[in-house]
Amino acid sequence: MSDPSVVRRARPLLGTLVEIGAVTIDGASQATVDAVDAAFARIEALQERLSRFIDASDIGRFNAAPADACIDVGDDARAVLRAAAALRDASDGAFDVTLGSGARAWRLDDRGVHKFGDAVRIDLGGIAKGHAVDCAVATLEACGVASGWVNAGGDLRAFGDLAVPIELRDEVAGGVRRFATIEDGAFATSHREGPDGIVRHASVAAPRCLWADALTKVVVATADAGHPLLERFGARAWLHDSPGNA
């Protein structure tokens, strides 16, 4: 609103606040608002299929299924689980969507997701937000928005001819500090406990938000901002000095 050339909206989705900014399509502010609405609708649809809190979602059905079941899943679950499997294998299990309940006790193939143990539970919390951001960006572009951004609770992507300033939240005391500007790329931050019990604060920049989001978990888990996986995805990482660190 402070800049009339940008339509900027936020809604509670994916368990966080999702913000969408779209530079107004030439002379068509209603078309821009419609594009933003369509991008929110895309995220809502994705949430319906990927949330572990929704029994009928692809993930809800997988989690409720007995061992040896094969769950047919939609394209979004396939895209995210394919990436999750690749990251798990490449990170020696440091990236694990089962959160320890069976990192290798599931497999995705043409038929669906196979489950190899009753207790295996999938939680896409560490990667689905990034995918949702990528999908919302694709929707905006398909609707004719040339530049803008999508920010799902700190996992964000900017596209088009726009340099978006990034403010890094101080996770301990509150407030923000200017960290960087990003153009045509994604940036995600994580502040969580690694497997060694130490809380780390890490950010990753990558061309796609799915990778930025997921790779922050690898950096936190391995405490390695130079992890070899980063280069493979064209990513760059930072481990922030956090007063919360031991």
């Binding site: 300033p165 790329g185 994604a186």
Partner: protein, 183 residues
């Protein structure tokens, strides 16, 4: 991908001043119009909850919090289309105001965030800090050229907003039952 880091070192980041952050998305009027585009007016209506009604909400696991609510009834001519209710919640560091549009069947039509304020330090707990935003519909940008700045941080939980929305849906349902929303 092009990323330009503000400082040359992370030490420079640590030394950077901590600032607050504020964004206004929509005024309540704009949000209401978007939720009910066919409405030609929004009629304010006070809903008062008595002790028994607050207790009934408690029994549903919803803390009534406030005994007085202002709702806006969306009307096209004499026909009611639904209601819009605004509220604000505070989290660990943030103050979020939002509006909920509810149709005549009591179903949520839309939720829009109206504004977002992030404090630094413990100021969010200070009534004076919160009061400065009450009734404001549009704040000046923080710094010139920062209109599009985005926060990155560990995932912000929207639990407070979700709870607030549940509370509003319950309050509106109760008001409808006891007739205080009128015809």
């Amino acid at each position: 991908m092009r990323i330009v880091v503000a400082g040359t070192t992370l030490a420079a980041l640590a030394a950077a001043p901590v600032s607050a952050f504020a964004i206004d998305y929509l005024t309540l009027e704009q949000a209401a119009q978007q939720m009910f585009p066919d409405a030609d007016r929004f009629e304010p209506r006070e809903i008062g909850l008595d002790a028994a009604q607050l207790q009934a909400l408690d029994a549903q696991g919803i803390r009534g919090r406030s005994a007085r609510w202002t709702v806006r009834i969306a009307r096209h001519g004499d026909t009611a289309l639904g209601v819009v209710v605004a509220d604000a919640v505070i989290g660990k560091f943030e103050l979020i105001s939002y509006a909920v549009g509810i149709d005549l069947e009591g179903a949520i039509r839309q939720i829009e965030i109206l504004s977002y304020r992030e404090s630094h330090g413990g100021e969010i707990r200070l009534p004076a800090w919160r009061r400065q935003f009450v009734g404001k519909t549009q704040a000046a940008p923080l710094r010139v050229g920062d209109d599009i700045a985005n926060i990155s941080g560990a995932t912000l939980s929207c639990t407070h907003v979700t709870e607030g929305v549940r509370r509003i849906v319950a309050v509106v349902a109760q008001a409808r039952r006891n007739g205080s929303l009128g015809p």
